[in-house]
């Protein structure tokens, strides 16, 4: 018999208990309307300093608009935002790195100049920006391309140059909008490692994605967004813990007093029983099974994945839209590969 560990069921979805000083981003009730359409409808987000934070939602859910409001590119119609302790994000623009979904650089610029330019925009002197640019390009195996024009680089290389330009000024907060979009598996892995190393150095990373796997692998905390609303924001574990664990029980006996210990709606397949763990917890269940002569052959308790949590929190329709977004992305990648 094996019993798998599981987390506490009492997660706190919104970090109300975290002091504001420990938050890199705090947003309350952000609303943004475009020509009568409400793109973002009362979003609350609290991003602790040094965390990897994911905004998870399908295309058109309001992820980019939320990020743009947090960056000060656009102003909310109503609501409150505080980024790195400032209510006007543009005042701390030099401490922020931003990689937009639609990436782009000046095609005639050399790679090293492009990085130096992005650094200069964030207040780094041009000479220092060039030095750091060369260093970063060397570190990431692109040193040979430092003096090539952006138009002479492949799209993937140009994206890497822009990514390095986003980080060249050593920001305290890095905002990525769909950073994995358009990257092949190899570069996705590289980016994941880079995000982890940023967080290890104390940099706060916030990114939007419609791929659950990225959020699940990387994030300490997430905000689930659908239809412009955030039904959940908090630790990934807390999202999963919204669903009760699933029990897979294998018994020798088919009938007996132990049957009273498992829910009436338990699914039965051969010697296996599948059901949601009762609220009383695993110990009373185990005791009842043993005392009821179930003849336990195996018992496993499976923690729900983030996908199940997303379905439960955002609903079936949002989950379908999320899958469609991911599929669109995959199709685009295949088309791109085909064109090459």
């Amino acid at each position: 018999m094996k019993i798998e560990p599981f987390a506490s069921f009492t997660g706190t979805p919104v970090l109300d208990n975290v002091p504001s000083a420990d938050l890199a981003i705090e947003a309350r009730g952000l609303v943004k309307r475009f020509d009568g359409f409400t793109a973002v409808d009362g979003v609350d987000i609290s991003v602790p300093r040094g965390a990897i934070y994911g905004i998870l939602g399908p295309n058109g859910a309001g992820k980019t608009t939320t990020l743009r409001m947090l960056l000060g590119i656009i102003d909310p119609d109503s609501g409150y935002r505080c980024v790195l302790g400032h209510e006007r994000p543009t005042e701390v623009a030099r401490r922020i790195g931003y990689l937009p979904e639609e990436r782009g650089l000046y095609p005639a610029m050399k790679a090293v100049e492009a990085i130096a330019f992005l650094a200069a925009l964030r207040g780094v002197p041009l000479k220092e920006g060039r030095r750091r640019g060369r260093e970063l390009l060397e570190q990431h195996g692109l040193g040979y391309a430092a003096d090539r024009q952006i138009r002479q680089l492949s799209k993937g290389m140009a994206q890497q140059v822009q990514l390095l330009g986003t980080l060249v000024h050593e920001p305290d907060l890095v905002v990525f909008d769909e950073p994995f979009s358009g990257l092949d598996a190899l570069n996705q892995g590289k980016l994941e490692r880079m995000i982890r190393s940023l967080a290890e150095r104390g940099t706060t990373v916030i990114f939007s994605t419609h791929v659950i796997a990225h959020a699940e692998r990387l994030c300490d905390q997430i905000a689930i967004i659908a239809g412009g609303k955030v039904p959940f924001a908090g630790p990934v574990d807390a999202a999963r813990d919204r669903l009760r664990p699933q029990v897979r029980l294998e018994t020798r006996a088919q009938e007996g007093p132990w049957r009273a210990a498992i829910p009436a709606d338990a699914r039965h397949e051969g010697r296996f029983w599948f059901f949601t763990l009762p609220e009383s917890g695993v110990e009373p269940l185990l005791r009842a099974l043993i005392e009821g002569d179930a003849g336990i052959l195996s018992l496993s308790i499976e923690r729900p994945g983030l996908h199940d949590a997303f379905v439960s929190i955002a609903g079936e329709a949002a989950a379908r839209a999320l899958e469609e977004s991911a599929q669109e992305e995959a199709e685009k990648a295949i088309q791109k590969k085909g064109r090459r």
Partner: protein, 410 residues
Amino acid sequence: MLRSHFAAAWVIMRRDFCAVIFSKTFIFFLIGPLFPVFIGAMAAAVGSQVSRDIDNPVIGIAMPAHQGDSLVAARGSLAPKMSGFVPEYTVLARLEPGETFDARTVLASKGVKGAPQLAAVITGTLEKPVLTGSSERVDQWRGQVALIAAEAGAPGPRSYPEVKEDKIATTAAKQHVDLAVTAQAGQVLLFLLTMLLAGMVLSNLVEEKANKIIEVLAASIPMDALFLGKLFAMLAVSLVGIAVWGSVYGMLMLAGMKSIPLLATPAVGWPMFCVLGFLYFAMAYLLLGSLFLSIGGMATTVREVQTLSMPVTMMQLMVFFFASYALARPGTWIETASLVFPVSSPFAMLAQAAQSPVLWPHLVALVWQAVWVGVIIRVGAQLFRRTVMKSGPARGRRGWFRRAAAAPAR
């Protein structure tokens, strides 16, 4: 805060300036002004040739015996003494007594190929000449014909008194006209220089939008700084252009090219006029440029920019015409309006510099214009954020209401 604004503007300016200066298109920008000059010279040459060919009027003469020849001789001796244009005279017929001549028929016929086209015909006698021609021609030449006929009919050579010359440098009226010409020349030059830049400024933000770098810029620096940087980059580019053109002109002068006709010395003197001309060029460019940058910012493609360029050019022309019109109406409300209206102010003030030696109004005007540059950049950047970046409050809501709504909901 202000320092970081200017630092950001400097980053944008440096990037844009280098991008333009080190691009192949800059060569076209430099040689661009030669095209209108070249085409203008060609058009003038062709036009003058056509004018010479078409509008070289000849008056035909059909008079008894040698009266026609006397008339031609009299025209030859009087023409140099008369101001204004005196048409050529040619004898068509020496009429016998009793012979008649149908001038109307001759004028109506197309004539012989290669022979001069007649504009009018003189018939009758020297004592009673008859001038046949179109109404305008008859009115124009009636007096001349009478004078020449009288000269031809006079017995013996007539002597004319010698006029003793007493020339003065200028008169008040001439000085006024000369200064007005200098003022107008300054305005024309200012207009040409600013017009060259309009198209470039108009398409200035298209590159950022096409390359999708605009979002990074918007997240990194204030939009005002972006506008300011772009505007000053183009100003710097134009100054490089002016320096190159000026150097080329200077070298041609040294190489022996004839200088352009000299203008009257402006009221503030040439050095100050040049300084003010430079400052007003900068202001005119910044005012119109900020306006065009704001308008061009709304365009997302080169095609849209091309569509916008025509009304923008018309707008520039209107500003220029307004300032020129005001120049001819000193002391009227039109002149005051042209001095105060921000975009026409640099043109009108440059004209003032040519006509009036008082300097303090220029200081006031430059400050006034600089304030408007700031206002237009600010409004343009806000408009850009609101319309292109889709920022700002929802329609119909005032800023202060928005601020109240956005207050911390703690």
